[in-house]
Symmetry: C2
Subunit: 333 residues, 2 copies
């Protein structure tokens, strides 16, 4: 298939390799929001960044870092995949407000305030109760706004999400989740949250992780695309993108790290269970990044205009990063 | 004054020096709960432990570490001050349940679950709202129970404190605070909390930090001792001790570290204010550890029996540590 449409995947966490990046190119991807860390501390995050530096050094023909939104156009023009680094938790900043700018300077463009559990900033979607954004969290949101680090509430609880949107002066995103009206799950979002994300001029990236889908691994491409079309009525097409949550070639130990970090002595199965502890079976129409053209075809098939498809497939992500991932100009004293 | 009564101070954080330890001996102190860290990470906590090792090496005639409650009797018999190490926040374990046992093995006997702000475990008394003990917090309480690390809720919010008491199978303490019926302050405790501490067979250490006292630095010894006598009616005398919160010879930078850690870009004044940012003026009757005999005299003067005074001045702290700071025996498999 010839490459015509700017394409961005708003969340992947694969076992990165040359093969994975070649599949991205085959599938027409121009940029991917790649998860850098789940629970890693500041020091450990620096090592994960070091690993990315090695990849950029090893495969400059295939990938390049995205430090500013304009880098995506550079990646596209040169036939490479731009890597947008993001953290699924606030662990990279530990307890230190100054680490927000340090991490942004190193290329961390997107950060979730929580991952399932309570963090120092906000509450995750697996806690019994949510008391909203903390004192530290309020300061971190302001600092993320200032340095242009995008606030991602994918794994956060509802009240914390609504408060983050209220406190933030810039758009807030959910990089990978679905409407709970499509499929009820702790990780999926209420209409109230989705409307607030749209009102913040933010973005929802639709997840293709089977635990977030109606009928799980048997969810059809048509069901998925119809969900997107319905959500456009709620949020406006310009606030929609893709965030597949593809985690390719990862061992179960990685799933256990995501779910348990270092906080649990008991096994926590997250969205799975003791009898269903493994990765879910992949979707037949999205086995890996090479299947991205299926999404384009699927969106066309449910009746979307070319402009709308182009927005969802990538342009909306670029526009979001231009709104939220640039440094705020400050007047000289 | 000749030394007759076992004496323990349940909280000090001074700028440790030979002079400070000599003052403790002059005041008749046999053991002190010494704050090891406020916001230090795991690695930083190891350095603070290293500094204590140097002190124990330098002044073996004056101080010794307390690893088990029985060490206090050893300190008393040898005329030294036993050092009970405690953390005012859960920062030493970071996000890692395994660090509870590691820290206990290194001699950390007492740990607060929060310091004013939301932590990964529970909510602090300066947050707007408190959603109780987190998923990680529940596991940490269980682990602290197992290894014999005492749960201290001095700087925690009310709901988190009540939930910690409910979840914990061992006594819970408030090492340094006062009844809010004596002086309303965010750091002081409601009768409900104090009763629950007593029901857990825990302990309240009465603070002599002016911000926790009626009339602040002008609070009289009689007022202080009458407060203790009244609280005995509520909690039972066996659940009371002293926890002065003496912070001697510390620069204002230390107060700023306590209040701001690394989380705030704005100056947080804690219990003070912009116009009252410094350490409070000391009490005339407790200028430093040498004034501990004043407390004994004061308690006698408000009509307490010798047994009651001996309990409050030290025996109750020893009994608490015997109940809460010993390793739980586990049956072999």
């Amino acid at each position: 298939m010839s490459k015509t449409m700017l394409t961005i995947d708003g969340l992947q966490y694969s076992n990165w390799s040359r093969e994975i990046f070649e599949q991205m190119r085959e599938g027409g991807l121009d940029a991917v929001h790649a998860t850098l860390v789940y629970h890693e501390t500041t020091r450990e995050t620096l090592s994960r960044l070091g690993e990315w530096n090695r990849r950029f050094e090893a495969w400059p023909d295939l990938i390049m870092p995205v430090h500013v939104p304009q880098d995506i156009a550079v990646a596209q023009a040169s036939g490479r995949v731009g890597i947008i680094l993001g953290a699924q938790n606030c662990s990279p900043i530990e307890d230190d407000i100054d680490m927000v700018e340090v991490m942004r300077d190193l290329g961390l463009m997107i950060m979730q305030l929580t991952y399932n559990n309570q963090s120092l900033l906000a509450c995750g979607c697996y806690e019994a109760e949510d008391s909203g954004i903390t004192r530290f969290g309020r300061q971190v949101i302001r600092e993320m706004n200032r340095v242009g680090m995008v606030i991602d509430m994918s794994h956060s609880a509802e009240r914390s999400t609504l408060e983050a949107i209220e406190i933030s002066e810039r758009p807030v995103i959910i990089s990978h989740a679905n409407p709970e009206s499509f499929h009820p799950a702790k990780r999926n979002k209420s209409d109230k949250v989705l409307k607030a994300i749209a009102e913040s001029d933010g973005l929802l990236g639709f997840s293709a992780y089977p635990f977030h889908l109606r009928n799980g691994s048997d969810c059809t491409l048509t069901e998925y695309c119809e969900m997107i079309a319905r959500t456009a009525d709620l949020m406006g097409i310009e606030h929609l993108g893709i965030g597949t949550d593809l985690c390719q070639n990862q061992p179960v130990s990685i799933l256990e790290w995501m779910r348990n970090g270092r906080w649990s002595k008991d096994m926590d199965y997250g969205e799975g269970s003791a009898s269903n502890a493994d990765w879910p079976r992949p979707l037949s129409w999205l086995r890996d990044s090479r299947d991205f053209p299926n999404l384009i075809a699927g969106l066309r098939k449910v009746g979307m205009s070319e402009d709308d498809v182009a927005g969802i497939m990538g342009k909306n992500w670029v526009a979001l990063l231009e709104r939220a991932a640039t440094r705020q100009e400050t007047a000289p004293a």
